[in-house]
């Protein structure tokens, strides 16, 4: 138990940015939009949150700013991919390259600075909850909020009427259009939601997880989020649990240490990427499963005129 608890907490802490970014991408993909620019949006979220946090000291403002900045990038994506019907893969790549270089441009003078944060009042209250308090008290409120987000996304997609419409837009845009739903508008909203969540994920990494800004901070987590949606076969519960699988792979160093295994740190750092490839292969080899679950219009531009 004494060894288990720190590992559990570290896994939750490391998995949280993926919970945000992958659930955001899941909603976007369910509407038929394949935004591969998550990495770029996370970089912008991280750098903007860090700068706002350094200048104002307000966590709340930092997160709002990160969300807005990442949504601006998502808007660029939506204009090109939804309205202009550009190739979604190409635009996603462009968005990542753009976000990454804009991030390092904006963050240049902040490299090497660190944020010192007061422990949250909420955390202090949570620590007093019997039994759960020993875990909750060590987690940032953004970690619990990601659980609320998960519950919300699950309810929205599986139980709500609005979620049904969103899924219809992703499965059969022509029919949804014929029924009078505004396909493009719904895809814009889903893309913007994905952007906002990528922004929070980036903010969480630069402020809570590392408390510093440096180039390469996001380190492919945006791409892992995109892969996560594929292995979750577009289901929220699997997406949520998958995020912690990768949280676990990220902190494998801890497991290895407690088990007394001394492996090169580079191999440990490569683990999340290798796990991503392995799980991607395991899921993708079942072509029938993929075909059954993938939103039918994913990545395909929609025109009402046909």
């Amino acid at each position: 138990m004494n060894q288990f608890l720190p590992i559990l907490i570290a896994t939750l802490v490391a998995g949280t940015p993926l919970v945000y970014s992958a659930l955001g991408e899941l909603v976007a993909e369910r509407s038929g939009v394949l935004n591969m620019g998550v990495e770029g949006m996370m970089v912008i979220g991280a750098v903007v949150a860090f700068i706002v946090m350094m200048t104002t000291g307000s966590l709340f403002l930092a997160i709002i700013a990160a969300m807005l900045a990442a949504m601006l990038l998502a808007l660029m994506f939506a204009v090109l991919a939804v309205s202009f019907r550009a190739n979604q893969v190409a635009v996603g790549l462009a968005l990542t390259i753009f976000g990454t270089s804009l991030g390092s441009y904006l963050g240049k003078s902040y490299v090497g600075m660190a944020i010192v944060m007061e422990p949250s009042v909420l955390t202090a209250y949570a620590a007093r909850i019997p039994l759960l308090g020993s875990v909750l008290g060590q987690l940032h409120p953004l970690v619990w909020l990601s659980w609320v987000l998960f519950a919300g996304v699950w309810f929205f997609l599986q139980r709500s009427r609005a979620g049904l419409i969103l899924k219809a837009v992703g499965e059969a845009p022509l029919s949804a259009h014929a029924l009078g739903y505004r396909v493009s508008a719904i895809r814009y909203l889903a893309t913007l939601f994905g952007g906002a969540m990528a922004g929070v994920a980036g903010a969480y990494i630069s402020i809570v997880y590392t408390s510093l800004w440096t180039e390469g901070l996001i380190a492919g987590r945006g791409w892992i989020a995109v892969a996560l949606v594929v292995f979750a076969t577009w289901r929220p519960v699997r997406c949520f649990l998958g995020a912690y699988l990768f949280g676990g792979a990220t902190i494998a160093q801890l497991f290895a240490q407690s088990a007394g295994i001394g492996l090169p740190s580079e191999l440990m750092s490569a683990l999340p990427y290798l796990v991503t490839i392995i799980v991607l292969v395991l899921i993708s080899r079942n072509a029938a499963l993929m075909r059954l679950n993938i939103p039918a219009s994913l990545g395909k531009p929609f025109t009402a005129e046909g």
Binding site: V79, I97, V230, Y273, I277, S284
Partner: protein
């Protein structure tokens, strides 16, 4: 405002859209200069011309453009077939690892054969790294974009493990770098008074071969058909698996060779970051060059100019060197935006209702 599909792609717009994108990017550059308190127009002129005032600068341009053109030609072959290799960065890195092994072990005592062996080792390294996503895609249907991207990070960690460990220069004051490469492991200089070396020849050969492959070969035609319509390709009996293998292996090989060009060229040593992001910039070069070898040659030279200008802006204008990536990616964004006009024309019908301006 709405878009209307043209009956056939506009030939004029194919050429105009890069020019429009360039102009818009120049405007963005001027806004950045102005916001840094510089004279926008004068800074832009300095930015773009200063790197090229002498022979040395021209040599630098060629040495930067060569790997970008070489990699982009390889990527374009896959992109045309709808095979998205975004792992050139990792393939370049593994090319560095394989050829670096040859250079460090046989360079000091070797003679004329070391360099050719390095080029082959680099190509093999790049191909091995590209074969992983190709095989996983063909055999298990795994998305090649995600796999090749993940492998970029793995390759970078592999190289840094070597440089921080087994390959670290004992006389390097603990800096993460290898021993300097032996003269036998370096490309000869091509133009006196510059750093431009013989690795440039690979890029020139690639442009010619790429042009022959794309426009004069049957395999090139098959790949193009595959990209336009997978169904049509399958109907005509062209194998998609073959397209995946060709697209990935060719681009992996040239990315690996570019890695050799870096360590056996200007660096003359192996660092953990052997590539200044060439694998990613080459994606922009390929798109900007319209996946066409001649276009890629031109866009590669332009991207190289942006690299040099970025370095110069850092030294003389005091701007962060990331302005290079910023302007490169802005250019790509504008290009994707204006490319819409190749396939569609804009029809204004009555008052503009939707705010589709961006």
């Amino acid at each position: 405002m709405r878009f209307e599909l043209r009956s056939k792609p506009s030939r004029i717009m194919v050429w105009c859209s890069p020019l429009i994108s360039l102009s818009l990017t120049a405007i963005v550059a001027m806004i950045i200069f102005a916001s840094a308190g510089l004279d926008p127009l004068a800074s832009l002129v300095t930015f773009l011309t200063a790197p090229l005032v002498d022979l040395y600068g021209l040599g630098e341009l060629l040495i930067k453009a060569a790997p970008l053109v070489l990699i982009a030609i390889g990527l374009a072959i896959g992109f045309r077939a709808g095979i998205w290799n975004v792992g050139a960065e990792g393939q370049l890195t593994v090319g560095v690892i394989f050829s670096g092994y040859v250079a460090l072990h046989y360079g000091p005592s070797g003679s004329g054969w070391v360099l050719p062996a390095m080029v082959i080792a680099g190509a093999v390294g790049g191909m091995v790294w590209a074969a992983i996503p190709a095989w996983l895609r063909v055999r298990f249907n795994a998305n090649e974009i995600l796999v090749s991207l993940m492998l970029n990070y793995v390759a970078a960690l592999w190289l840094s493990w070597l440089i921080f460990g087994a390959w670290r220069d004992p006389a390097g004051f603990n800096f993460p770098q290898s021993e300097p490469l032996a003269p036998a492991a370096l490309f000869p200089t091509l133009i006196e008074g510059t750093r431009a070396n013989a690795s440039i020849i690979f890029a020139v050969v690639a442009v010619v071969l790429g042009w022959i492959f794309a426009s004069r070969s049957f395999a090139g035609f098959q790949l193009k058909v595959t990209g336009l319509s997978e169904g049509a390709a399958r109907y005509a009996g062209f194998s998609i698996s073959r397209a995946v293998w060709i697209g990935m292996l060719v681009s992996g090989a040239v990315a690996g060779i570019s890695g050799v060009g870096e360590i056996a060229g200007p660096l003359a040593q192996i660092f953990p970051t052997a590539s200044p992001g060439y694998g990613y910039s080459a994606i922009i070069v390929a798109f900007l060059g319209r996946l066409n070898p001649i276009g890629i040659l031109l866009s590669g030279l332009l991207m190289a100019l942006l690299y040099l200008a970025g370095d110069l802006a850092q030294m003389s204008l005091g701007m962060p060197s990331s302005i290079t990536g910023l302007l490169q990616s802005t250019l790509l964004f504008f290009l994707l935006t204006t490319d819409v006009l190749v396939q569609y024309r804009i029809r204004l019908r009555g008052p503009i209702k939707e705010g589709a301006s961006a």
